[in-house]
């Protein structure tokens, strides 16, 4: 079983040199800590920054420079600043190579729900609907089951959708799965996890890839 950092670490292996990447809040943010050596990746923050650096030192904290999670950040050589309209031109226009975000539910047809639980206070979708509609390459980072033990990889989402037919990759604490032709394809198992474990935790249609293997880091 993977912990949150290991999920992030596995996702980081999907990064390619030159990628522009938007990382959501939570596990996705941790991906930035595992960018492989020799791979040059530019992080996009949807509030108007391309080329996001690390957190500032105490002396360099600038209230006018935050990320989409409202955290103080820094810029890097080659960064650019822009408006929210421009930021979502990038996102909606398909210029971001990879989006990593969390989810409450993912369905076997690629639907995703991650913004609203009926009966609970609604906070809003922020930029998530634009990100899932605008990026071709999306990886969902999440636990395989919720706190009650119920599967989050479903036949159909029960919660209000964030986007339809848009998710193709899911990395959970149990493994790495792709979504193809209406099914979850189990590609890699987390260390110590069996195919039976994944089957038990997956409500949606699950196909075990012929070449399923243990995840490498």
């Amino acid at each position: 079983m993977l912990d949150k950092n290991q999920i992030a670490q596995r996702i980081a292996k999907e990064l390619q040199d030159g990628y522009y990447v938007n990382l959501g809040i939570g596990i996705p943010t941790l991906v930035a800590n595992y960018i492989p050596e020799g791979i040059d990746v530019t992080l996009q923050s949807e509030n108007g920054l391309l080329g996001m650096g690390s957190f500032p030192t105490e002396e360099n904290v600038d209230a006018d420079l935050i990320n989409a999670g409202k955290q103080t950040v820094t810029m890097l050589p080659g960064s650019s600043l822009f408006s929210s309209a421009e930021s979502f031109e990038m996102i909606r226009g398909g210029h971001v190579d990879l989006t990593v975000l969390g989810a409450m539910e993912v369905a076997e047809n690629g639907d995703i729900a991650n913004w609203k639980i009926p009966g609970k206070m609604v906070k809003g979708m922020g930029g998530a609907m634009d990100l899932v509609a605008g990026t071709d390459n999306i990886i969902v980072a999440m636990m395989h089951t919720n706190r009650a033990g119920a599967s989050k990889l479903l036949k159909a989402c029960s919660l209000p959708l964030t986007g339809k037919n848009c998710i193709t990759k899911v990395v959970t604490n149990l493994g790495y799965l792709t979504i193809e032709n209406g099914a979850f394809i189990l590609r890699e198992l987390a260390p110590g996890v069996t195919i039976e474990d994944v089957k038990a935790a997956t409500e949606g249609k699950l196909i075990v890839a012929d070449d399923v293997k243990e995840m490498e880091f």
Partner: protein, 230 residues
């Protein structure tokens, strides 16, 4: 061409009960602090506020919520405000949640004379309910309409007396589009300079969009998530 006004109180003259406002900012970054203070003091009610967020308890639009000045919020994310939640659950406040990119584009369209546009964002979700959808080149899209406002209240870093604006860092966010979409656009700036002091090639909002401008004071610039590294 007298755009310069003395302060926020003068700048929001004519802003009346029931009007629709745009307020720049992302979280508490780049919000028009002076205009919000003046609004809280003046006490206009039943306002519709278009703003990506709704401030926090005790700061930003949160101050207006405490005074029950807001009838409706049009935002993409409102999760940082307990008073907001209370008013929403009690039915005092209405909220129209709009995806962040669609919100930005709706404001941009409002200023740009584009009454409506298609976007893939929100297709198949409750955001698209009641809206026209259509297939274009094999993909489904939702028709979204432009937003404009009676007053747009924006905050810039530098401005000149002709209304030209330059923003700093990520405090730019929604401010440029909103500046373009206000019938009356009020800009508060940290530094107010004479024409010619700003490089024409660096201007983010040309003065044509700005009707009133003033030098703001006492910026608090509260930070929501102070994250540091060693």
């Amino acid at each position: 061409m007298k755009k310069v006004v003395k302060n926020a109180t003068e700048a929001i003259k004519g802003l009346e009960n029931g009007m629709t406002l745009m307020l720049g900012g992302f979280g508490l970054c780049g919000i028009p602090e002076n205009c919000i203070s003046a609004l809280v003091k003046a006490g206009q009610k039943n306002l519709t506020c278009i703003s990506n967020n709704a401030g926090v308890d005790g700061f930003g639009i949160g101050l207006m919520l405490e005074q029950r000045q807001v009838k409706k919020m049009i935002s993409s994310y409102v999760g940082e405000n307990a008073e907001f939640e209370r008013q929403l659950l009690s039915g005092e406040l209405e909220v129209e949640l709009t995806p962040q990119g669609t919100l930005a584009e709706k404001c941009r369209a409002g200023g740009a004379g584009i009454p409506a546009f298609f976007t893939a964002t929100g297709y198949g979700t409750e955001v698209a309910e009641g809206k026209e959808t259509r297939e274009i080149n094999g993909r489904m899209y939702v028709l979204e309409e432009a937003l404009t406002a009676d007053f747009a209240l924006v905050k810039a870093w530098k401005g000149d007396t002709m209304g030209n604006l330059i923003f700093k860092g990520t405090a730019r966010n929604f401010n440029p589009m909103m500046a373009r979409a206000g019938k009356i656009t009020v800009a508060e700036v940290e530094e107010l300079v004479e024409p010619g002091e700003l490089d024409p090639n660096h201007i983010h909002v040309p003065g044509i969009y700005v009707q009133r401008i003033f030098k703001g004071t006492d910026y608090e610039k509260r930070i929501e998530q102070r994250t540091v590294s060693k």
